[in-house]
């Protein structure tokens, strides 16, 4: 093969081959000829391959070089010649400064340029909450505006696309869908043909058949309601449980309860798939909002005369104690007139303060006649009131619903005249939202209904008041437990929502006067949500998405469709609550919460409107699951029902369920990597965890030390096969609510009927030293000061020595360091001495020999039900339950010594280090 000089090719091989050929032209000697052929022969073999190879290689190289050059350019930092830094060859302050300014600018530009030049794929540009797992392989997973770029990058990077062969199951479904589509097309064609035929022959038969009026279903009173029939498509997946109205939304974005283990017969979102611990904390307190679909909360409607309703509520324990008696007098008047809600504990029939069922919300239905005369209730009016039927709603957690239902049903039948009870479980749903932007998001989503096109309501009306609240960043600033009842328009008609105009602070005084006067007390009419017909009408009047879309397409671009008189009016009840017993007393930062009740079918459209509302502070409201709910109440220092109330039936059921789960998790781990409960060192030569390490072992706490079984239970703990003998019956624990517990401890009201050996109270735990309490941690009291045993006394004293003095606390906060910083090598001797003295006087740290051991099992008083690092406090806190009988004498003997009576030791399950803490009765 002879080289062809004219052929385009890579420069280097051509040059080599050109050399002999050019020499060839000068003289044609044999020698030269031979040499030429030799060279040509030599070159021919490899050069062919080399040519082809190097061609592609060089194009690649060229691209590579170009890219390399651009990166290099981007990374180069410009610098100044030193001649610029001199003034006529001499040093000068001005030039010196100028040179440095130039350098700063050059470096900063260089940094920016280098960052810009970094290769960033399209899917890396999207914000965290829009990232999807396979976005690098599937263009459809990135936002639309980036899809083209992503597709191009995929081609450039030769990324394999995520197109797989459909699985067997998938193929079956695809085929079925195809067949169905063909079938329906055929049917439609046939129908069209028939209609056309009839149209030519008979005009009248073209009319639609007259709609048959269906018989109204009889309202089931005093009976439990069945879940609504699910669409056929989803029916199999809702056997034994029901979906929330927003199930599809949540199932895509959150971890749900597993299909086999629903929670309270609902498929409940547990936690968002995205990491959200810290974002939730921020959104709930600092910026943004968190919303929950709380439709699983059960609602019971009661209807009857005011007297019998009052009798029923009193029997449930509302307003029977001397402190709360005023609820039935002037203080509770707003509540019974239907402009406030009441939140508190309900008890079994006439058993207050024992046998608590659950915390509940009770809402009275306001009456239509003006209720302006708050104080004076004329005698003749009372007579009329005795006859009129009033309604109220009780809202309770689903775990305690059945217990409450039985109790209410029994009580309703004994009232004279009887009270009608209706189960509204799948008829009324609810949404909860908290955070600084919650009011704003709700205002954007809930537009009060108006008959006229202009959005003007009479001054002081409920709708006008609601619309004027845009500036409020904390629902807790509203009057306590305030209630609104009004109708809203279908939020799909103004979807996607737009950021509302938040009035500037000029109208602040107007808002303040609204808050202080609260005109809704006079203008609230009977909310339609209490009316069954209105609820059903609203649900039926909700148009299909198709109809909504059609109306939207007819609307002028950029505007929402015009309201029509036939539009659905969705009745809602909206109320604001605050966490009363929040940590640190009445700290102003504690956020209130908006709750609203609405027809079950209307939850989904409203939910979407809230979730897509663009907040004025940026972003959108977040959604939360059960874990976020617990996190937020935990950070406020408020116990969560049912988890933190093992003294109630629902709480104990929760504990048993969690116990099983923890046990499974423990048993799943390999032997070497799990806590060996039997070898936990408890100090003083005692070994083995108290009771089951994975449980808040209330049985063990009540029965006390059972010497023969202790070793055995620890043994059995190691063997998962022998464990599931039987779920032991619930111990006779009895929850004592906070008010009763505090009065008991203060000794103001001796409650004789309380069995102190089983009375449980929920407490908050503040650790005085370091450490983070975990769920199931053991709580001990300090040994008694009047103990005979000298070791117990010394143990008590060594624990008391750990109590930080106010002065050391302050210092600790200033330093923020558990250990003093290391000294410099050349520190003067007096500093060294001071540090030495400090280290000698410091209380012993955990792990040192002098650190006190945990008190014995006789001093065990309870367990931590929720414990974690508290982002609000910046340290570990806990919520637990303790047996009141075991701390009563300590509190009484320590009353004159400040907080000493409430000191306790918290030890995490499976660990031997105890931490000094202080308990306080929690709400």
């Amino acid at each position: 093969m002879t080289p062809q000089p004219s052929a385009p090719g890579p420069p280097r091989p051509l040059k080599r081959k050109d050399a002999p050929s050019s020499s060839n032209t000068a003289g044609s000697t044999n020698h030269n000829k031979r040499r030429k052929t030799q060279v040509a022969l030599d070159a021919s073999g490899p050069s062919k391959r080399k040519d082809a190879q190097s061609f592609s290689a060089t194009t690649k190289n060229a691209r590579h070089d170009k890219r390399r050059q651009t990166t290099k350019d981007a990374r180069a930092i410009s610098s100044q010649a030193s001649s610029k830094a001199f003034k006529n060859g001499e040093l000068d302050v001005d030039k010196f400064v100028k040179a440095r300014e130039y350098e700063i600018k050059a470096l900063e530009q260089g940094m920016a340029r280098a960052k810009k030049a970094l290769a960033e794929r399209a899917f890396q540009q999207v914000p965290k909450e829009l990232r999807r797992r396979t976005a690098s392989h599937n263009v459809k997973r990135v936002p639309k505006r980036l899809q083209r770029r992503a597709a191009r990058e995929m081609v450039e990077d030769k990324t394999k696309s995520d197109r797989r062969k459909p699985s067997r199951h998938m193929r079956l479904r695809i085929e079925t869908a195809k067949r169905l589509r063909a079938l329906s097309a055929k049917q439609r064609a046939r129908k069209d043909a028939v209609v056309k035929d009839q149209g030519t022959t008979n005009v009248q038969s073209d009319q639609r058949p007259v709609s048959v009026k269906s018989r109204k279903p009889r309202v089931k009173k005093n009976a439990l309601k069945d879940p609504p029939p699910a669409p056929a498509k989803f029916r199999k997946r809702q056997i034994g449980k029901s979906w929330l109205p927003t199930h599809l939304y949540h199932a895509k974005r959150a971890h749900m309860t597993s299909p086999k283990e629903p929670l309270w017969r609902y498929a409940v979102p547990l936690t968002p798939t995205m990491k959200s611990y810290r974002p939730t904390h921020r959104a709930s307190g600092d910026r943004g909002a968190v919303a929950w679909d709380m439709s699983y909360m059960a609602t019971v409607s009661l209807a009857g005369t005011e007297q019998s309703l009052q009798g029923l509520l009193r029997a449930l324990g509302i307003g029977v104690s001397p402190e709360t008696k005023q609820l039935w007098e002037t203080r509770g008047q707003r509540w019974s007139l239907g402009t406030r809600v009441w939140e508190g504990w309900l008890y079994c029939r006439d058993s207050f303060p024992l046998q608590a069922i659950a915390p509940a919300t009770v809402i009275w239905c306001a009456e239509n006649e003006p209720t302006s005369v708050l104080g004076a209730v004329a005698e003749e009016k009372a007579n009329v009131q005795r006859k009129t039927v009033r309604k109220l709603l009780i809202r309770v957690h689903p775990s305690a619903f059945h217990q409450l239902w039985d109790e209410v049903l029994r009580l309703a039948k004994v009232q004279k005249p009887q009270v009608m009870v209706e189960d509204l479980r799948f008829e009324i749903g609810s949404i909860e939202i908290t955070g600084p932007a919650s009011t704003e998001a709700l205002l954007g989503a809930l537009w009060p209904n108006t008959s006229t096109s202009c959005r003007d309501w009479p001054q002081g009306s409920v709708e006008a008041t609601w619309s004027s609240l845009a500036e409020i960043t904390n629902p807790a600033t509203l009057p306590e437990n305030v209630l609104f009842g009004f109708d809203i328009v279908d939020p799909r008609l103004h979807h996607p929502p737009r950021t509302i105009a938040i009035p500037q602070s000029t109208r602040e005084s107007a808002l303040l006067s609204t808050l202080s006067k609260w005109p809704c007390d006079q203008t609230q009419t009977s909310p339609k949500l209490f009316d069954r017909n209105a609820r059903l009408k609203a649900a039926r009047a909700l148009p299909s998405q198709k109809a909504i879309n059609r109306r939207k397409s007819f609307a002028v671009p950029g505007t929402y469709p015009e309201p029509k008189p036939s539009d659905a009016q969705i009745p809602i009840l909206l109320y604001a609550t605050r966490n009363l017993q929040s940590r640190n007393g009445g700290q102003s930062r504690a956020q209130g919460t908006w709750n609203f009740l609405l027809p079950w079918k209307a939850v989904l459209p409203v939910w979407y409107s809230i979730m897509y509302y663009p907040l004025s502070t940026g972003g959108q409201p977040r959604f939360g699951g059960l874990r976020e709910k617990r996190q937020i109440v935990f950070e406020a220092g408020v116990p969560w029902f049912p988890g933190d109330f093992p003294g109630t039936a629902a709480g104990y059921a929760w504990e048993v369920r969690e116990r099983e789960k923890r046990k499974e998790d423990w048993a799943k781990r390999p032997r070497g990597k799990r806590t060996e409960w039997s070898s936990v060192d408890l100090g003083n030569g005692k070994k083995g965890e108290i009771g089951d390490g994975w449980a808040c072992d209330w049985e063990r706490l009540l029965t006390g030390m059972a010497p023969p079984t202790t070793g055995k239970s620890a043994e059995a703990a190691g063997d998962p096969s022998s464990k599931s003998d039987s779920v032991s019956p619930p111990p006779k624990l009895c929850h004592i609510t906070s008010a009763a517990a505090s009065s008991l401890l203060s000794g103001s009201s001796p409650l004789h009927n309380i069995d102190l050996s089983t009375a449980l109270a929920t407490v908050t735990l503040d650790l005085l030293v370091r450490g983070v309490p975990q769920t199931c941690a053991r709580i001990y009291r300090l040994p008694s000061s009047s103990a005979i045993d000298p070791t117990a006394i010394s143990l008590r004293n060594s624990w008391l020595a750990l109590v930080p003095t106010p002065e050391s606390r302050r210092r600790g906060r200033e330093q923020k360091q558990p250990f003093p910083s290391r000294l410099r090598r050349d520190a003067p001797p007096h500093v060294v001495h001071r540090q030495l003295a400090q280290s000698l006087l410091k209380p012993p740290q955990a792990g040192e020999d002098e650190y006190p051991v945990c008190p014995g099992e006789e001093d065990l008083i309870g367990f931590v039900t929720t414990g974690n690092f508290n982002l609000g406090e910046g340290r570990g806190t806990g919520i637990g339950c303790i047996l009141l009988g075991r701390v009563l004498d300590r509190v009484r003997e320590g009353r004159d010594e400040g907080m000493k009576g409430r000191l306790c030791v918290v030890r995490n399950a499976g660990q031997s280090v105890g931490r000094l803490a202080r308990w306080d009765i929690a709400g």
């Binding site: 930092i77 610098s79 100044q80 010649a81 030193s82 001649s83 610029k84 830094a85 001199f86 001499e90 040093l91 302050v93 010196f96 400064v97 040179a99 440095r100 300014e101 130039y102 350098e103 700063i104 050059a106 470096l107 900063e108 260089g110 940094m111 280098a114």
Partner: protein
């Protein structure tokens, strides 16, 4: 994939000696800090700086030193106007380069000026050394401007940030300037403690 780990040394070239200016009275009016941080001559190129380092390493550590350092040594940034440079070297051997810089007392041949090469920051990314250079430039501006109005005293030393604030006390030439340099180095060592050898 194995990632190549580098260290970026931020180097300041200081001139402790008296400034060779024909007119002596200017010398008195100029603040010391400006003389100390005076611009380097334009004839010092990054290549010459490279050679200086390489020669220094060769002198101190022989062929071995040159061999291990040569592959990664690079002058990333050199500004003669402010006498600042950023030198890149592999993480395992940055101490050799540091030593060579420390032992350099004069600029290479055609310039032949007495100088001190002070390594003020060792960082794992070029970004951090750039940020440090910006910070130091800002400080330099502050110092030069305030030095124009009044001379340094002890109270102004604390104005700067952390360890570097002490550099303001570099009134007395090389000896005084060397001490803060040592402190800097100590701090740098504690920061980049992962280099482990």
């Amino acid at each position: 994939m194995v990632r190549l780990k580098h260290r970026y040394l931020l180097v300041n070239i200081l001139y402790p000696g008296p400034v060779a200016t024909p007119r002596g009275k200017d010398q008195q009016t100029l603040p010391d800090t400006i003389q100390f941080h005076k611009p380097t001559s334009d004839s010092l190129t990054p290549q010459m700086l490279m050679r200086l380092i390489r020669d220094g390493v060769a002198e101190l550590f022989g062929d071995y030193g040159v061999g291990v350092v040569a592959g990664s040594l690079q002058v990333k940034y050199f500004s003669a106007a402010t006498s600042t440079a950023i030198v890149r070297v592999s993480r395992a051997h940055y101490r050799l380069v540091w030593a060579a810089l420390t032992f350099a007392t004069r600029l290479p041949h055609p310039l032949d000026e007495a100088c001190v090469m002070q390594v003020v920051r060792v960082s794992g990314t070029i970004r951090k050394s750039e940020e440090e250079a910006v910070r130091r430039a800002r400080m330099g501006i502050r110092k030069a401007q305030s030095a124009g109005t009044w001379m340094w005293d002890e109270s102004t030393i604390g104005q700067g940030h952390g360890n570097v604030g002490s550099e303001g006390g570099s009134v007395g030439g090389a000896e005084a300037g060397a001490r803060p340099g040592i402190e800097d180095i100590e701090d740098d060592r504690s920061e980049s403690g992962d280099s482990g050898d």
